[in-house]
């Protein structure tokens, strides 16, 4: 049996005296695209931060490709295999090109390769025209695309996306959604996506997990989870998903 891409065992995390994660155990296989759903404050972001080794946990352990993350060295090596796109774009000062190159720079990627990969990533997200712009002069939609390009330029094995398309206008949402969907399939990237969007779950993800008050209530294929939703939130989500699929199947959208 091959090792799981990620294996979290009994993760618990406290922040400011509040339990934001309670004994979460979860496995993610290679090429899985896992949706995390749950109300605001359910612990989706905290779980992603714990799984990405960005925030220390109070209890539990994390195994990546079967190896335990036990010290600073293994942690850094793991963080260099992943990418995370936060809800806010969080760009650094400097040009768009410099921003997209940041991750490669930190890995001491040779200049020529950096340039190639940055160009490629800018192209993928349709922002080649912005390359020389200062990052702080961008619109929110442009900044979001830069943050996605920055993540994919690192060619991550695993990517964490925290509500990647919220607060974007519909046409842009559509474009980025299709692009992301293509990229995840063609590159075989394992992904964990926190989302409130049924369509993202149904079209992008092969597994979904429901969270509530820091606990993981259930994991399975979207069909399994939505057939017997573990809480009110996921039940509401299931009803909404039902409508969406009916619409998708019954009246194919243009």
């Amino acid at each position: 049996m091959t090792a799981h891409m990620l294996e979290a065992r009994g993760l618990s995390m406290q922040r400011g005296g509040v339990d934001v994660l309670k004994n979460v155990t979860l496995t993610v296989k290679e090429n899985d695209v896992l949706a995390l759903i749950g109300s605001n404050g359910a612990g989706k972001t905290s779980l992603m931060l714990a799984l990405a080794c960005l925030m220390p946990v109070n209890k539990g352990e994390l195994l990546v490709s079967g190896e335990k993350i036990s010290d600073k060295r293994t942690e850094l090596a793991y963080r260099r295999r992943l990418a995370m796109v936060f809800q806010e774009p969080l760009l650094l000062s400097g040009t768009v090109t410099a921003n997209v190159a940041t991750g490669l720079d930190l890995r001491s990627t040779p200049q020529r390769e950096q340039q190639e990969r940055v160009d490629e990533a800018l192209e993928l997200f349709g922002i080649s025209g912005l390359s020389r712009r200062s990052a702080h002069t961008l619109s929110s939609g442009e900044a979001r695309r830069v943050s996605l390009a920055r993540a994919f330029a690192m060619r991550p094995e695993i990517i964490f996306l925290d509500e990647p398309f919220t607060s974007l206008d519909l046409p842009l949402r559509e474009t980025l959604f299709n692009q992301l969907s293509r990229l995840l399939t063609s590159e075989g990237i394992t992904a964990i996506i926190a989302t409130h969007d049924c369509r993202e779950v149904l079209q992008l993800c092969n597994r979904m997990a429901v969270m509530n008050k820091g606990r993981l209530l259930g994991v399975g294929t979207p069909e399994e989870v939505l057939a017997s939703p573990p809480d009110d939130f996921s039940a509401a989500f299931a009803r909404h998903a039902d409508i969406s699929t009916t619409m998708l199947r019954g009246e194919p959208a243009a």
């Binding site: 931060l49 990405a52 960005l54 925030m55 600073k72 850094l76 963080r79 260099r80 992943l82 990418a83 995370m84 936060f86 806010e88 969080l90 650094l92 000062s93 940041t102 991750g103 930190l106 890995r107 702080h136 002069t137 920055r150 690192m154 964490f160």
Partner: protein, 232 residues
Amino acid sequence: MELILEGICEALRLLLKGDSEVFAVTWLSIKISGMATLLSLVIGISIGTILALADFRGKRLMVALVNTGMGLPPVVVGLFVTIFLWRSGPFGHFELLYTPAAMIIAQGIIATPIVTGISLAAIQSLPANLRLQIMALGASRTQMIILLVREARLPLLAAVMAGFGGVISEVGASIMVGGNIKGQTRVLTTATVMETGKGNFDTAIALSVILLLLIFLINLILTMIQQKRRAR
């Protein structure tokens, strides 16, 4: 009134003909305060960044202490540095009292809390998740700190200016630990005190004009930085 006018005329004459003593005093001021600021930057930015990023019990108390330190009375600093460097004091055998080194130490102690406080505020004003995002880009802890400091570089430049402005115009500590020795520890402020005491208002005014010009220059740079930030 005549006294002031005469003084200003004499001051301009001294400045224009490039009086060697006035020049030496000015240059020493810039050197001593520059070194003290440099020292305070190394210590202040490090402590400020650590305080901003670390999470520990008593952090608030530490921040309160730093903020109190920003208003540290120079005379008090002068007193304690003098005691420590006194011949029979703990560091007396270094024989540093009444040397430029003693002044650099005293001014460094005055500037460090200022730089620490501004650095702390600068790093804390960055978005909370920026640190996590930088780590998610694959940064080691050192790389993360370098990137954060780079992001806060404009307010940090303000820290440089505030620190330098604070110590170059300070007189209490400088006179106590430096002793205003001609050619060795005589700086703009201590020379002004002495010349005024002797009734040499023209020289005192000339020295003050130079000090004002220096401070004006600092504030000009500061304002330009702030305006640039606002324009972004």
